[in-house]
Symmetry: C3
Subunit: 329 residues, 3 copies
């Protein structure tokens, strides 16, 4: 049983024990994450922006690749829950002395830490760590390769729910580099789980994964058709740094075929919202006027990122506390 | 009105809303900063060196160029005010992914932070940020190009007042690289605003800015004349790393013409104090015996730096809180 | 008297004022450190892993060489004592602007900090700093060159005591690179002070210091003889990065002559414990099966590292508080 528990995101009561990917999580659980985030939304407006839920707990930001933006949101979330935060950048640590990932984890775990927030360039790294961690430690996936980035997906769901009331029945369009995006996969899963009517994707063929239709998205060839009647449009970053070889048309050509412009946005519903996970390449994948326009909820996504991260931290920690107190009885 | 408020350091009640430069601040306001710092001086002597003024607030150290020394003093000041501190080093962050300064700021602001401490290689960067920031966030300039470094200037004023009782009527000599010093300009402004009798500057002609006399300083050619009767002597660092081309005499020649020696110091008043913003090049711009001698208040400047930074943080935050509570009425 | 006090690890009452090296410390004092660590052991098991002993104190991690692992343990220890922690990495700070070590220290000290945790590549750096520091500041040596690493030695003693009840009468074997190990010297001193029956060392002759016998260890040539009847076996890391020139046999040859294998471990007592300071080169100095086997207490060492660091921080700080309150009477 302990083995099973260690391999899954859920504890024996079906509560969130780790947060590794959207896959396998029920609509109820995704909704619970959003409801919890809702309850933290007001913390940011208080004069004292802290709640004592994680006081005396140690959260380790274990970053195997640099991401100031993501690290910052998790650090803020942890501090607003009153946790102690330890930033460990592994490229500059023992890894360079040839220590294995597992030895690094075991060492940190021996220091009685309570949670790892893991960012890694390899898909599955967070799962691997969760599988080998002591039962009292939570693991939160802050992006692994091009596999998953579940807190980003959940902050997007949370933002959509805020503006649309629910995900159910919505038409959502995702434009751009689906292949290299750790966000897109998690988004599509979350959207389908939460009952979106249709998830449309559009991108150069070289930036679409082979299995795209099997995971519940419908591929479009022409952006005008994709945008027609859309409730939500999500632009993805053109991840130049991830591309090898001649995948792509020129930036100019890309923008003319896939760029999200004000003109094109008129094809969507009049109350469409525009989202982007950032950082943005203005005038490459999206027109600056759209970024700063009245349909954009991009900065709201950033704010919601803190609340969602607080929620997943609080939920996984509460699963552990519950398990611990049951064991003590 | 909101636009005006966003562009100025002062709120509509004339209180300090941001702290960007000495220029435009009244003698009363500079005095209020020093009086507030006075009230924090004793915090450092308490067993528990903390006051809860900024509890639950998030201060972001936004450093676009590396300065461990300055970052450290702001981090300590913020922690002693009980704030949460986030160090964001932008050279290693999204900037390298091509995100604009403005997008970076908007993102951090969306995370509900309360204050930016900004260090940037370009003059005017802190002003630019203050102009584009949300109304509830304070900006403190921690050095922008060779333009301003107002907290350094104020800790110098505070130190002079501590030893001389007042700035009014004093003769102050500034020796060295005025051209590249972000400190010197701020100092001269603060000294003249606070009623110094005379501010004398002396440096190789290539290290003096063209407008030096218009900002209230008197240029001397001979160090002996400059030091005669001085109450305060401020040595500046010979900023070798900022020099391009053949601005300068050799170090040896520089020391023989402008070096602050014990011998030369005898020309000043007997109760003269010697200051230096650090880090010091011993035996280049100043004799080691002077640095460590009984007229030196250099380490007192460092201590006062914490108190002044606490003061400017507390004052700008209190302006915002006041504004917020007025809006709520 | 103040001069004497500043040069020694002990205050005038014989209490621990700094923690620089094991040399010169009595068995009683080493035992007090372990007893204090014992009292902190349970803190890690509490829901809120904090005690308020250092609340409002500022601990500076002053690292002149990179060591994420060691820095992390001290940062955690300080935070669990409720101190504010400042990480100062000197390779990226004023040192590069040519400021001397002493000026750096004086500057930090002027900011009213309470403790320096010092890591430096040069032997004696922590002593040097302790000699020049203001009386109210404690210095803890976190490793200086190949000289000393006293908290590592004490966490090893603490771990041995935990498993063996006492150090007295034990046979302890240290295998590997004694010459370049900052740990081995401190360990040998601590073991002899605490009454170990025999400290055996074994290594290629090029990795043994000349004075090894004078500091209380007995050199063995054959690993089988060294292991015979051992209570404790400590493997040291083969510090490849410290070696210059042709000191060494090949890794393969090294492992075949000195590698700690399960087979060889059978020569030791049946209740032998195996230790290693980490990071480990698996299959180079130690067999992976031994690292993960039931005689290994390697991860227990890591846990105990936090408790020992908390203990030395608390004891040195309490010496200062006592001295201060005596002075005030």
């Amino acid at each position: 049983m302990q083995h099973n528990a260690a391999c899954s995101q859920l504890d024996q009561n079906g509560r969130l024990r780790h947060f590794l990917s959207i896959a396998g999580l029920s609509r109820e659980l995704l909704t619970e994450i959003m409801d919890t985030a809702d309850s933290f939304g007001s913390v940011a407006d208080q004069a004292v922006k802290k709640v004592p839920l994680l006081r005396g707990k140690t959260v380790v930001n274990l970053f195997f690749e640099n991401s100031t933006r993501t690290r910052t949101t998790f650090e803020l979330a942890a501090k607003r829950l009153s946790a102690d935060v330890l930033n460990v950048n592994i490229s500059t640590s023992s890894a360079s002395k040839g220590e294995s990932l597992l030895d690094t984890i075991r060492n940190l775990q021996a220091m009685h830490v309570d949670m790892f927030v893991v960012r890694h360039a390899s898909s599955g790294a967070a799962h691997f760590i969760a599988r080998h961690i002591a039962p009292h430690i939570s693991v939160i996936n802050a992006g692994d390769g091009s596999h998953a980035h579940p807190t980003q997906a959940m902050l997007d769901m949370f933002t959509i729910r805020q503006f649309k009331g629910q995900i159910e029945g919505l038409i959502v369009v995702i434009i751009g580099d689906i292949l290299h995006s750790r966000v897109a996969r998690s988004q599509i899963r979350a959207l389908t789980t939460l009952g979106a009517q249709e998830v449309r994707v559009i991108a150069p063929r070289t930036l679409l994964p082979d299995d795209i239709q099997t995971i519940g998205a419908r591929v479009y060839e022409q952006i005008d058709y994709a945008l027609a009647g859309a409730d939500v449009v999500i632009g993805l970053r053109l991840q130049k740094e991830r591309m090898h070889g001649a995948f792509l048309p020129s930036e100019h050509e890309y923008f003319s075929r896939y760029g999200l412009t004000e003109q094109r946005l008129k094809l969507a519903k009049s109350d469409v919202i525009v989202m982007h996970p950032g950082p943005i390449n203005r005038e490459v994948e999206i027109e600056s006027r759209v970024v700063d326009g009245d349909r954009s909820v991009i900065l709201k996504q950033v704010s919601n990122g803190i609340a969602i991260r607080m929620a997943t931290m609080a939920l996984t920690m509460s699963s552990h506390n519950q398990t611990r107190s049951q064991q003590q009885k």
